[in-house]
Amino acid sequence: MIPNSSHQLWNDLLTEKHQPTLSSLSLQMKLNALKFAVKYNKISLDEAIEDLYRFCANNAHMYQKDVNTIFNLS
């Protein structure tokens, strides 16, 4: 289960207010790229949230463990 893109923690993740320890290399790389893009105004924060949400939702079998960590799901 991937929490909806309106969940505040997606925002916190991209703005580094929430910095959980992730295990998937591709998710770490993707997140870093999106944080960079937002920081240097290449895309908006809302666009980055949607992109990150879709990335996780489309590959839930790979990222569910990290998503559980991000959202404190059991």
Partner: protein, 322 residues
């Protein structure tokens, strides 16, 4: 493997990534394989150099389909469009070439680059031949060598499986200065140290930095290394590009590479498809003849784990969907 053993696999239509020196690769028959020049390997018996053996990554029984594509430096941006919906890509790029530099600088901007594993390595040569012989890739289908083209083996997986790319990096950011660079590139003159503009070469000298230690960036938890190639006339060259505005710190020293490495490699390697390690780890940690566990592969002039990294082990695995 020996040359006759590899040629037997080629005749049997195996889908493979091959690593060997140029003379050996030239004797392999045409088939469904890609190759890169490199004579250094991490073997089950330990690190070694070989001028007559071939390191074989055989993907035949794992993939449901595969296609080989060559790219020049303008075409490489389209690499991700050639991937399968479910699978991975194995990319070989000739070291010290324009396409090596282009790839490393642009890969972060390839559309959807993190959507599927992009594994691979930068090809090399005998260290004694650097500057005399160019590293190359070889297209097994045509039998042609290139020192200015990259080559990818795009692999499709059945829907019951998925590929996963990981890195094993012994280096962690130290607790020293925060270093940033005003431009992305394979070399730097200026940098910012804790926000203060400095000449990077002067900084290295003044702080007696051990340049065998990489600069380490924290990519949301993934430690990405950039190794220093040389310091020359005020300019510092790197084996992979520093990224503008990315925060770097010099790595903490590693006391015993082999011991620490064995602690970090996956306990089970049953799902591992292939791996590659950095020639600098081979050199700086004196790995010749030393066993580094069950993971095997070439020691390369740069590892591709989506982006170009240094002093890192890249590991590709394929797992079943649960």
């Amino acid at each position: 493997m020996s040359l006759p053993e590899v040629n037997a696999l080629v005749r049997d239509n195996h889908i493979m990534v091959l690593a060997a020196n140029e003379n050996v690769l030239a004797q392999i028959e045409k088939g469904r394989w890609i190759g890169g020049t490199i004579p250094y390997f991490m073997d089950v018996e330990g690190g070694c150099m070989s001028n007559d053996k071939v390191f074989v990554t055989d993907l035949t029984h794992l993939v449901s389909d595969a296609r080989i594509r060559r790219y020049d430096d303008r075409q490489l941006f389209g690499l991700t469009a050639d991937r399968y919906r479910n699978g991975f890509s194995w990319l070989l790029v000739p070291g010290f070439s324009d396409i090596h530099f282009r790839f490393a600088l642009d890969v972060n901007d390839y559309p959807g680059v993190f959507d599927a594993p992009l594994m691979g390595w930068i090809t090399g040569v005998d260290l004694a031949d650097i500057g005399k012989v160019s590293p190359k890739i070889l297209d097994g289908e045509s039998g042609q060598f290139y020192d200015n083209r990259a080559i990818a083996l795009h692999c499709q997986l059945p829907d019951s499986k998925f590929a996963k790319l990981d890195i094993v990096n012994l280096f962690q950011q130290g607790d020293g200065d925060i270093i940033t660079f005003p431009e992305s590139g394979f070399s730097a003159t200026q940098c910012m140290v804790n926000g203060e503009k400095m000449i990077f070469a002067d900084y290295l000298k003044q702080h007696k930095i051990d340049t065998r230690l990489p600069l380490v960036a924290n990519y949301s938890g993934a430690m990405i290394n950039i190794s220093i190639q040389q310091v020359d006339d005020g300019k510092v060259s790197f084996y992979a590009p520093v990224v503008k505005n990315q925060v770097y710190k010099f790595a903490m020293p590693v006391k015993d590479y082999v011991t620490d490495f064995k602690k970090l490699i996956p306990k089970s390697t049953a799902n591992v498809v292939g791996a590659c390690n950095c020639i600098l780890n081979y050199l700086y940690s004196d790995l010749e003849g030393k066993k580094t566990g069950a993971l095997t592969g070439p020691f390369t002039f740069g590892e591709i784990a989506y982006v170009l990294v240094n002093q890192t082990l890249s590991v590709l695995s394929v797992e079943y969907l649960v």
